[in-house]
């Protein structure tokens, strides 16, 4: 299995071959993503209202998958960076750079929808709930990563520095998450202001998973498109 993966990734390490593959997958991936999201939203529309939160619980179907993608995005960047730095895969840096803004935007969506979801319940636009806080810190980690890419002029050096940051940062994300969770339990206010997820009844679970899949496909479609753009940009730069 591992050997097969290795062979596949080695085969597509050649940018031209990758571009051919990407061109083939581009339309289907976007199409699938659109279909999945459309179906997901359709299912969400028919989810019964939560007895406590009313119709606003439906924001959860955007908030939770977005938060999943925020974490998935950073893991994606981590693995791409490892492929680039440790295994010297030529497309690793391209993949990491392409995925970064996509992940950052999903993180921002998670933050905004989290705030919108909670506002009717809490009466304020923000609470330092454990998950929201972790996502906020993750957002800054994304920003630092993207800023590093932008700040260093020379592309190879920028790529290597950013990959290093991604690897070092990824190892620490669990530590940050753990400490934020612990901090939240320490300062638990009297009224429960956590974003309580309703019990994962089948009515809620399936639409959630479908939306999750749709977001994943959207993430992959966006990243693939950005990778194609980046490779074309590099080709242009080399020619000039």
């Amino acid at each position: 299995m591992l050997k097969a993966l290795e062979n596949i990734s080695a085969h597509y390490a050649n940018p031209t071959r990758f571009m051919a593959l990407a061109a083939k997958w581009h339309a289907p991936l976007w199409g699938l993503a659109a279909l999945c999201l459309a179906y997901g939203l359709y299912r969400v529309a028919y989810v019964p209202d939560d007895y406590q939160q009313g119709a606003t619980v439906k924001i959860m179907f955007v908030h939770v998958p977005a938060a999943w993608m925020a974490l998935f995005g950073y893991s994606f960047i981590f693995f791409a960076s490892v492929a680039a730095l440790v295994f010297r895969h030529p497309l690793g840096h391209v993949a990491a750079r392409a995925a970064a803004p996509v992940g950052a935007v999903f993180t921002l969506i998670a933050l905004v929808t989290g705030s919108l979801w909670g506002q009717p319940m809490w009466g304020t636009w923000w609470v330092w709930d454990a998950r929201l806080t972790s996502v906020l810190v993750l957002f800054f980690i994304y920003l630092g990563y993207i800023a590093l890419w932008q700040a260093i002029d020379e592309p190879t050096r920028a790529a290597r520095a950013a990959s290093l940051l991604a690897i070092v940062g990824f190892i620490n994300v669990p530590i940050v998450k753990f400490s934020v969770d612990w901090w939240n339990t320490l300062h638990q206010p009297a009224s429960v202001s956590r974003l309580a997820r309703p019990a994962l009844h089948a009515d809620f679970l399936y639409p959630l998973l479908i939306m999750g899949l749709g977001f994943l496909l959207l993430f992959l479609a966006l990243t693939l498109t950005r990778m194609q753009m980046e490779i074309l940009r590099q080709k242009l730069r080399r020619r000039s």
């Binding site: 993750l138 800023a147 290597r160 520095a161 290093l164 934020v180």
Partner: protein, 221 residues
């Protein structure tokens, strides 16, 4: 070992002569002075918030000292020297960071009692706060070093360093502030928090030099 001490001492001397110690401590006091203007001069409020505020101000003061850490050496060729010493590059970097801690961070921590006075800090909390800071500050320095190492080739990379290092300050701040609240809040013992802080510091002291060395090598390629 003697090379380690030589490098450490050289960095301390340079930081001291460059006026960085005075600048950093002044920044700490200026930041603390701004707080009552934002929060109001009510002493009870300041007393309650003092430990947490001092932690944040310490972290930010530390962040401001970082851009001088590796940039000068990167530009004047000293980094090459450090790479070509009989001492491992990682050890040479650790020596610099030790020097940075002794020359800049320790004075900041020693200024905290006086700054705490301005915030009407509870005298009983002060020893806990200082103990927590001494245990946790090395982690802050190491993370700052990682940020400084990654941003070293960027002109005016100070803000970038801060942005990179800042998210990773969160665990230290969380446990550090908890430590200074510990004994008074629920009668819980101080030691677990100090232990966690010390563990974070120890882990970063062991691992950060390798990350920083890698970052500096990338910058010089």
């Amino acid at each position: 070992m003697s090379l380690f001490m030589t490098l450490c001492g050289a960095h301390i001397r340079l930081a001291w002569r460059g006026g960085q110690t005075v600048l950093a401590v002044s920044f700490l006091f200026i930041a603390v002075t701004l707080l009552p203007f934002g929060l109001g001069p009510e002493l009870k409020l300041l007393r309650a918030l003092a430990p947490g505020l001092l932690w944040v101000v310490l972290a930010i003061s530390l962040l401001t000292t970082l851009d001088k850490l590796f940039q000068a050496d990167f530009e004047d060729g000293t980094l090459d020297r450090l790479r070509l010493l009989p001492l491992a590059f990682e050890a040479a970097l650790l020596a610099k960071l030790c020097g940075h801690f002794l020359a800049l961070v320790l004075p900041l921590i020693l200024s905290v009692p006086l700054a705490g006075l301005l915030l009407n800090i509870d005298g009983a909390r002060l020893p806990l706060l200082l103990a927590a800071m001494v245990c946790g500050a090395p982690a802050l320095v190491m993370w700052g070093g990682i940020g400084a190492g990654l941003a070293v080739s960027v002109r005016r990379g100070g803000l970038l360093t801060v942005l990179i290092a800042m998210p990773f300050y969160v665990p230290v701040l969380i446990f550090g502030a908890a430590a200074s609240q510990a004994a008074l809040a629920t009668g819980t013992a101080l030691w677990p928090y100090l232990g966690i802080l010390a563990a974070l510091s120890a882990a970063t002291i062991l691992l950060a030099p390798f990350a920083i060395a890698a970052a500096l090598r990338v910058a010089q390629d």
